[in-house]
């Protein structure tokens, strides 16, 4: 029973958004539906203003509020610690999006956030896109995830219409990893294929993925040695994504930005 978790070193993160792009391509997300995002924000006031950034995947909380509020148990905590959505159960009530303190959940039926053409209309699905949309994919782009990897029970792949989607810690990769591994290191050819796409692609190597239940894992050592902290910890969700803030990194949760 692993308990997969991620460590993001904010001192190393350069805000290049490669993780965002890799995630969108790996999981076939629409533009704006950023399961993994780097949020840019401003701190301080002129003349001491700074631009900061903050990478934000789903936190895959130990005590997830989204799981507690789902009236149909469509979103659930898997044995290996991921918070997943069963797209065959989801009724699309948006309550988990309300209950998530981190804003990591998205509704499938989305307009283009950045303007431009609706990419779902450009690559329409042949079997879906009906009003009720009980069966069939929402859209069908040529670069979609291979069909044998699509797994709606775990929220993997091009989803159906009118359901909530979120980061699944690349369940289709991580779930195939041999049992008992302490770390999924993208540098190691033996484990690279099982590592989440954002970790593999991270150019400065700011992301680490491993088993939080294993005391020998690299992620546990990093959290212990570099004082890893969790985002918005006062809500009690206990995220399984830890941030190493160091000297230069900034976690916006600690800083009440009072613009008034």
């Amino acid at each position: 029973m692993a308990k997969w978790g991620m460590v993001i070193d904010l001192e190393k993160c350069v805000g290049c958004q490669a993780c965002t792009v890799a995630c969108g391509m790996e999981n076939t997300r629409t533009p704006g539906e950023h399961w993994q995002d780097v949020i840019f924000f401003q701190e301080g006031e002129y003349p001491n203003a700074q631009i900061k950034w903050f990478p934000r995947p789903c936190m895959h909380c130990e005590n997830p509020s989204c799981v507690a509020v789902c009236p149909v148990r469509a979103t659930y905590k898997s044995e290996d610690g991921q918070v997943l959505i069963d797209w065959d159960r989801c009724i699309g009530c948006h309550y988990c999006m309300i209950a998530c303190p981190y804003g990591v959940r998205f509704f499938q039926n989305q307009p283009p956030t950045y303007g431009g053409p609706d990419i779902m209309q450009v690559f329409p699905s042949e079997d879906g896109h009906s009003l009720i949309g009980e069966e069939g994919r929402n859209w069908n782009p040529p670069w979609r995830m291979p069909d044998h990897l699509q797994d709606w029970a775990h929220g993997v792949g091009v989803g159906p219409r009118n359901v909530v989607t979120k980061c699944n810690f690349c369940y289709h990769r991580v779930s195939k990893a041999p049992k008992g591994l302490a770390d999924l290191d993208p540098q190691n050819p033996a484990t690279r294929d099982y590592t989440p796409a954002c970790v593999v692609t991270c150019a400065p190597g700011a992301r680490f993925f491993g088993d939080l239940a294993n005391p020998q894992s690299e992620v546990n050592k990093l959290i212990a040695n570099k004082n890893g902290m969790r985002l918005l910890d006062h809500f009690g969700n206990k995220p399984q994504v830890y941030y190493l803030t160091g000297e230069g990194g900034s976690v916006p949760s600690n800083r009440a930005v009072n613009k008034a």
């Binding site: 507690a68 009236p71 989305q110």
Partner: protein, 327 residues
């Protein structure tokens, strides 16, 4: 010619409608139905125009739903995820609860002067609850999935699950209660029991609807145990408003057209007193309801300024998050 008499149950209603249909033919039957009678009454005219308005609204909403999807109703991943449909649902559901509370005054608490509006309250309560459920069904991405997914999931941690349970019980009790009133069964043991049970169910249902919002610690604007109380109180207020409005609409805003018992109630200051009391309570409770959530004190002005404070914004980034900007 069929003698007009008060039907006693649904079987009699449908039998009478069937006889009327066979007697006058389809077109004439449709005309009589749309007018609620052979010669249009005030209520019949209101009903006709209301029906036309509803159909136009429904057609427009369905067009937007098909052509634009939920984006037309602000049901987006950004901002507040619950767009126009959820407040509409909450309005109808709470109005229904409030109407049952007003009906409980004569039927549970023994304020006999309110008997003339009790039956109208229960009937409107059923209608508004049905309207609320309909809006909710359009809000859901997969409404029909709910029928099997809720009973098999049985997520007792979710306020939404309990809201469904209590409102379903509420609807069943309302229908039983309306049937009993139809049978002129105002005073039997069963009628009293159903009345009390329905009042309890409606308090639980509206309180649970408040808890659905109030338990969201990551949404500071809503958060707090007081949200439940606030929902119950505003439910009673909008129920009172609805029954006053509809009682007057039914008689074309003319008191002399009302039946004797209702006219006696309308001539006294009983109902305005109830209404004024509820308005007063609701006004006092507004700062209490959003006060604790935003850390404001009891003054209304502070509570209102906290609406615009970024720390209290219900943005998808939760409390304390700065708003994102492009790189």
């Amino acid at each position: 010619m069929i003698a007009i008499k008060q039907p006693r149950d649904f079987a009699e209603v449908f039998r009478m409608l069937g006889e009327l249909y066979r007697e006058v033919g389809a077109m004439e039957f449709l005309r009589i139905s749309l007018n609620l009678g052979r010669t249009p009454s005030v209520a019949g005219n209101m009903w006709k125009w209301g029906l036309i308005g509803s159909l136009i609204t429904f057609a427009w909403c369905m067009y937007m739903e098909v052509a634009e999807g939920h984006r037309a109703l602000n049901m987006l991943s950004d901002g507040i995820n619950w767009g126009a449909q959820i407040p509409t649902y909450v309005f109808f559901a709470l109005t229904s609860s409030g109407l049952t509370m007003i009906a409980a005054m004569p039927m549970v608490f023994g304020f006999k002067q309110f008997y003339p509006i009790a039956k109208r309250c229960i009937w409107l309560s059923i209608i508004t609850l049905g309207a609320g459920f309909t809006v909710l069904a359009f809000e859901l991405g997969h409404p029909f999935r709910m029928l099997w997914a809720v009973p098999t999931g049985l997520q007792v941690m979710s306020p939404m699950f309990w809201m469904g349970v209590f409102y379903t019980i509420d609807l069943a009790l309302l229908i039983i209660k309306f049937y009993l009133l139809w049978q002129d069964d105002w005073d039997s043991g069963l009628s009293h029991f159903i009345g009390t049970a329905s009042f309890v169910a409606v308090i639980l249902a509206s309180g649970m609807l408040g808890l659905l919002f109030g338990s969201m610690v990551m949404r500071p604007m809503w958060y707090g145990s007081f949200t439940s109380i606030y929902f119950m109180l505003t439910a009673a207020l909008s129920g009172a408003a609805m029954i006053v409005l509809s009682a007057y609409i039914a008689y074309g805003f003319k008191r002399e057209r009302m039946p004797e018992t209702l006219r006696r109630l309308a001539s006294t200051d009983e109902l305005p007193k109830v209404f004024a009391t509820l308005i007063g309570i609701a006004l006092v409770m507004i700062p209490r309801a959003c006060g604790p959530a935003c850390g404001a004190t009891s003054t209304a002005s502070k509570a209102f300024t906290s609406w615009s404070s970024p720390r209290c914004s219900t943005s998808r980034y939760g409390s304390g998050w700065p708003s994102p900007s492009s790189p």
